[in-house]
């Protein structure tokens, strides 16, 4: 089985500014990569490259055994991206949003109801997303990401705004037990380390730390900030 992610000297610039450079790593299926770094360190850029939303300007990127960007079309639909933006239409209800995404992904609508049940939102499912709290909106976004059962989860602060009960409810969808390989961006160092198999630390777009999670301490990570 091909690695979930293979990056070799991957870089990306926005105009003159280098956002990411020299990232080389391999992540096996079912494993979790935790990415740490200060604001602007290149974490979100890395996530967007892996999601096929950004083209790498340098190096070689393979996701789920396919080369990016040329095979990006074959990767879409196999990854799930949970970014800062929940990617939900505020005027539509949670159910309408999820049904819309289910149709785009060719997923049966019964899965929408199952997911709403799982995250405890069935009762509020017909309210516009703008009426939901941030935590509830995050739960809907997690449902959106999980709808098509992706093989690679790209998660940017997935537990932001979630209370402990909600965090527990989404664990089977995006937690370690969910099964797919994961890339996890978190500012909660202890949580990130506990979830990770591999740790990548970015500083000004360059890898400053790349090691198995077992050999990384919270102090090592805090040194990145």
């Amino acid at each position: 089985m091909a690695p979930a992610i293979e990056l070799s000297d991957v870089g990306r610039a926005y105009g003159e500014r280098t956002a990411l450079s020299g990232v080389t790593l391999t992540l096996e299926p079912g494993r979790t990569l935790a990415v740490f770094g200060a604001n602007g360190a290149g974490k979100s850029t890395l996530l967007r490259i892996l999601a096929t939303l950004l083209r790498p300007h340098a190096g070689r990127a393979r996701v789920l055994g396919r080369d990016l960007p040329q095979d990006g079309w074959a990767v879409r639909g196999r990854v799930g991206l949970l970014a800062h933006d929940p990617m939900l239409y505020r005027e539509l209800s949670a159910r309408e949003n999820l049904r819309f995404h289910a149709r785009l992904h060719g997923v049966d609508e019964t899965r929408v109801e199952a997911l709403l049940d799982q995250v405890g939102l069935r009762r509020r499912a017909d309210e516009p997303v703008r009426m939901l709290s941030r935590g509830m909106t995050q739960r809907v976004a997690i449902c959106r990401v999980s709808l098509h059962e992706p093989e690679l989860l790209l998660l940017d602060e997935p537990l932001a705004n979630l209370d402990p009960g909600a965090a527990e409810a989404v664990e089977p969808l995006i937690g370690r037990s969910a099964g797919p390989a994961r890339v996890l961006i978190s500012h909660d160092v202890e949580h990130g380390l506990a979830e990770a198999d591999l740790v990548l630390g970015l500083k000004a777009g360059r890898p400053a730390l790349l090691a198995p999670a077992a050999s990384v301490t919270a102090r090592d990570v805090r040194g990145l900030y």
């Binding site: 999601a51 939303l53 990016l68 879409r76 970014a83 959106r144």
Partner: protein, 247 residues
């Protein structure tokens, strides 16, 4: 957005291994339904387009100091007004996609990207038709001299053909402009020159229908020009739309 578009054969070959998505028609239908639902909830486009048309008719009535118009002048006033109203719709066509992450969510779905173009063009076409259903009677009451009833069948044909052209260009320009900060400026600056042939052809085709002595025969030549414009720009838009979504 990264990644070149695959050939149909490549997609078919990958289908058993990769998520096939919901298919082109299903994606278009989902996108259209979503946009119509959003418009019904927010009422941001169609009412604004209609009110703009109405205000413009009133302005023309007093600006020209004429109680009724006919022929070329009536046709020109109608088409210029409808075109500017359409620009309002073009400006808002991709706003929800941009501001609420819909672009990224769509680009992550395993569907043909031209489905977004087809859906948005269909939605803009629908908005134009909805506006015209109310704006044409208002035009007839406020400005048009001759009876509109005789002109109606021909006018419907012209409106439909012109709306297709405006929707195609509007969708293309809307998608281009939404990537920029100067959306409100870019849309009219690019779209107005591009739809000029539509206004010329539609204006020429409509003028005989508004003749003072009653509707004359529909000029087939100008209908042909509209049809040809729709075909050429429709194919062109389908060919280039993917590139507008590229990273």
């Amino acid at each position: 957005m990264a990644g070149a578009a695959p050939t149909a054969e490549a997609r078919a070959a990958e289908a058993p291994r990769d998520h096939a998505g919901g298919g082109f028609a299903s994606a278009v239908s989902a996108l259209v339904r979503k946009d119509l639902r959003l418009e019904l909830r927010t009422r941001e486009s169609v009412p604004a387009m209609f009110l703009f048309s109405l205000s413009t008719f009133v302005l023309f009535r007093f600006g020209l100091d004429r109680e009724s118009l006919e022929g070329d002048l009536a046709s020109g006033v109608l088409w210029v007004t409808l075109l500017f109203a359409a620009v309002l719709g073009m400006n808002r066509l991709f706003v929800a996609e941009r501001e609420e992450g819909g672009f990224d969510a769509f680009l992550l779905a395993p569907v043909d990207r031209t489905s977004l173009f087809v859906a948005k063009a269909a939605v803009l076409f629908g908005f134009l038709v909805a506006v015209e259903v109310a704006a044409i009677p208002a035009f007839a009451v406020l400005l048009l001299g001759p009876s509109p009833f005789q002109a109606l069948p021909g006018l419907l044909a012209i409106l439909l053909l012109a709306d297709v052209g405006i929707a195609v260009i509007g969708t293309l320009v809307g998608a281009l402009a939404i990537q920029t900060r100067a959306r409100d400026l870019i849309v009219p600056l690019i779209s107005l020159p591009l739809v000029l042939p539509v206004v010329i052809a539609a204006g020429h085709a409509t003028a005989p229908l508004f003749a003072e002595a009653g509707a004359e025969a529909l000029p087939a030549r100008w209908l042909g020009v509209l049809g040809l414009y729709d075909l050429v720009f429709g194919l062109l838009a389908l060919a280039v739309f993917d590139f507008l979504l590229e990273d």
